[in-house]
């Protein structure tokens, strides 16, 4: 992991690539598990501080002139390390984001066309990219970021937004109990759930009573047994651990393919040992 850190302090997705926000945050968190190399951590943090945009958000790569969902990932790192002001601006940016389907115009359109089945736009989630619809991954990570921010009581409405976001996730539970990347039903056909998104959603719903999540928790454990990727298994382990369940994975050991899934593997192993950095 340390050997893959770029000279500018950030991490690439894969060896030789430019620094990107997502792998940098995940590598930073992974290094925080065992206190890592202080110099490496500080260089990573300096890169993150330097790439924040004027609007308070972060771009996925510095050459992209748009803040996106990765802002929620950055807001997961410690406020003290990031800086109080930077963290507050990131949270403000997140609080200002909703899926486009939550707009009044879109809701009206759905009413007129009889589309949406009552779920679309009912509860506000977060998009990957501003101006697009809300999806499970950015919504789950944003909820986790706001939960951390709530401890500092930085902005009004955070608790309400967390609850609405959680309801967004609950609305999207698939028939099989897990989560797909978006809606549970497309054109009348039930969507299959994915390990990555199921794990992320369970992490974001960690405060809910187990009785409310009986089916999703069972689905996640079943997914873990037949999972086909290290990244998927890591998210499931993180999500299930948040509910006190240790996921038994498949017999096969999966290769870690890049910085992000390697970091997630480290974070999942730490969670299995009782330290879930997404919830600290």
């Amino acid at each position: 992991m340390r050997s893959l850190q770029n000279p500018d302090g950030g991490w690439p997705y894969r060896k030789g690539g430019g620094s990107s926000t997502e792998p940098t945050v995940l590598a930073f968190l992974a290094q925080s598990v065992d206190q890592g190399d202080p110099q490496s951590i500080e260089r990573g943090m300096a890169w993150l501080r330097a790439t924040q945009r004027q609007d308070g958000g972060w771009p996925p790569q510095p050459q992209v002139s748009q803040s996106t969902w990765v802002t929620a990932l950055v807001a997961l790192v410690s406020r003290d390390a990031l800086g109080v002001s930077r963290h507050a601006r990131a949270i403000d940016w997140l609080m200002g984001q909703t899926g486009r389907e939550a707009s009044l115009a879109y809701k009206l359109r759905n009413e007129l066309l009889g589309e949406g089945g009552g779920v679309i736009g009912k509860h506000e989630g977060w998009p990957f990219f501003p101006g697009a619809a809300a999806w499970v991954t950015p919504s789950a990570i944003s909820i986790l970021a706001l939960e951390k921010a709530r401890r500092y009581q930085m902005a009004g409405g955070i608790q309400q937004r967390i609850e609405i976001g959680q309801q967004f996730l609950i609305d999207r539970i698939c028939q099989d109990g897990g989560w797909n990347y978006g809606r549970a039903n497309v054109l009348g056909v039930e969507a299959d759930s994915y390990p990555e998104t199921t794990g992320q959603a369970l992490l974001a719903l960690h405060g809910l009573p187990p009785a409310k999540l009986e089916k999703p928790l069972a689905a996640a454990q079943a997914q873990a047994r037949r999972c086909q990727s290290a990244e998927g298994l890591s998210w499931l382990q993180l999500g299930l651990q948040a509910h006190g369940i240790t996921a038994a994975g498949p017999a096969r050991v999966f290769p870690h393919r890049h910085v992000a899934d390697t970091s997630l593997g480290i974070l999942a192993q730490a969670a299995l040992r009782g330290r879930n950095l997404f919830l600290e």
Binding site: Y13, E22, F129, W135, T137, Y181, S229, R257, D261
Partner: protein, 318 residues
């Protein structure tokens, strides 16, 4: 991957090629596109078949950078959802044999982030030696911004992976499938996988809001140096691109003109090409006209295999 091309280079290339595309459409002086339809199966013979296709179409890749773009969508141990690994390997070997300086395989799936694991499950690691060294995950590649001139969609610019922007030839290797949002997904729609998930997300929903058909036409205009080989050995009918059923057709369809290739595929699937909106936007009705396409190899009636259509798309039946 960065081959040393600056953003200014990318902008100049894309703007120039876009202008050329539009000019030739206006003047109507394009040469008649040639499209091959050849019988094929997922056997060793597919290597010779692909090589013959490249020779037949005089694909000059000597000293060039070639990027092969298959269609990797979902975990599927069968042959229905993803482009078959033997076809990808055959194309890789074929372009190498034709003298390409560098041949890479690259894809950026729309829904799943675990691209390498998808490829593993689809048999790519098993079939293609040193696959991991040859493969670029376009969702996670470094990107550059490209301005779209006269875009069909509501987007003025888009970010694209540097690997795709630096390619001298992009080879679209899609599956022959029906698609619940656009009717059919073939070589042109396959370029959706060039759009980086790290910027736009999983799915690349910004494109949906900007108009799926319009964005496909924009992608076609932005990447004009292309070649297409459609995997119609086993396609997918019904609720594609993921939940449909296998549809054996037993053909590969290839050519330099993606609109002509896709129009031919539509006819094989018994779908009206002019009812596929992105084809109409990208090429116009004349270019889709059967009389304006030079068919080589098998004839359409010989291989025509009607694909099942979901209720919403019954009106596109040929």
């Amino acid at each position: 991957m960065n081959h040393g091309m600056t953003r200014r280079d990318f902008l100049a290339v894309s703007a120039g090629s876009l202008a050329l595309t539009r000019c030739s459409l206006v003047s109507g002086r394009q040469p008649q596109p040639r499209v091959s339809i050849v019988r094929a199966a997922y056997t060793q013979a597919i290597y010779d078949t692909v090589r013959r296709l490249l020779v037949e179409h005089r694909v000059d890749v000597r000293g060039k950078r070639v990027v092969i773009k298959p269609n990797l969508v979902e975990f599927d141990p069968g042959t229905t959802i993803n482009t078959h690994p033997m076809l990808v390997h055959a194309a890789l070997e074929g372009f190498r044999a034709m003298g390409a300086a560098d041949v890479r395989i690259a894809e950026g799936p729309g829904h799943r982030r675990v691209t390498m694991d998808l490829a593993d499950a689809a048999g790519y690691f098993e079939t293609i030696p040193r696959f991991e060294d040859l493969f670029i995950d376009l969702n996670l590649d470094d990107v550059s911004q490209v301005l779209l001139r006269d875009p069909f969609s509501r987007l003025n610019s888009m970010y694209f992976p540097n690997t795709a922007l630096a390619a001298d030839l992009l080879v679209s290797l899609p599956k022959m499938k029906t698609h619940h949002w656009v009717g059919a997904t073939l070589s042109m729609k396959n370029f959706f996988g060039l759009v980086p998930g790290s910027v736009y997300g999983w799915p690349k929903n910004v494109l949906h809001w900007a108009g799926i058909d319009e964005c496909i036409a924009d992608l076609h205009a932005t990447f004009p140096r292309h070649f297409a080989i459609v995997d119609g050995v086993v396609g997918m009918e019904g609720n594609g691109p993921i939940q449909g059923k296998p549809k054996p057709v037993g053909v590969l369809v290839a050519g330099k003109d993606m609109a002509a290739v896709d129009a031919t595929c539509c006819r094989i699937m018994k779908i009206k090409p002019s009812a596929i909106r992105y084809l109409l936007l990208a090429a116009g009705p004349r270019q889709l006209d059967e009389a304006n396409i030079l068919q080589i190899g098998e004839t359409i009636p010989h291989v025509q295999t009607p694909f099942g259509l979901i209720e919403e798309w019954q009106n596109i039946r040929l």
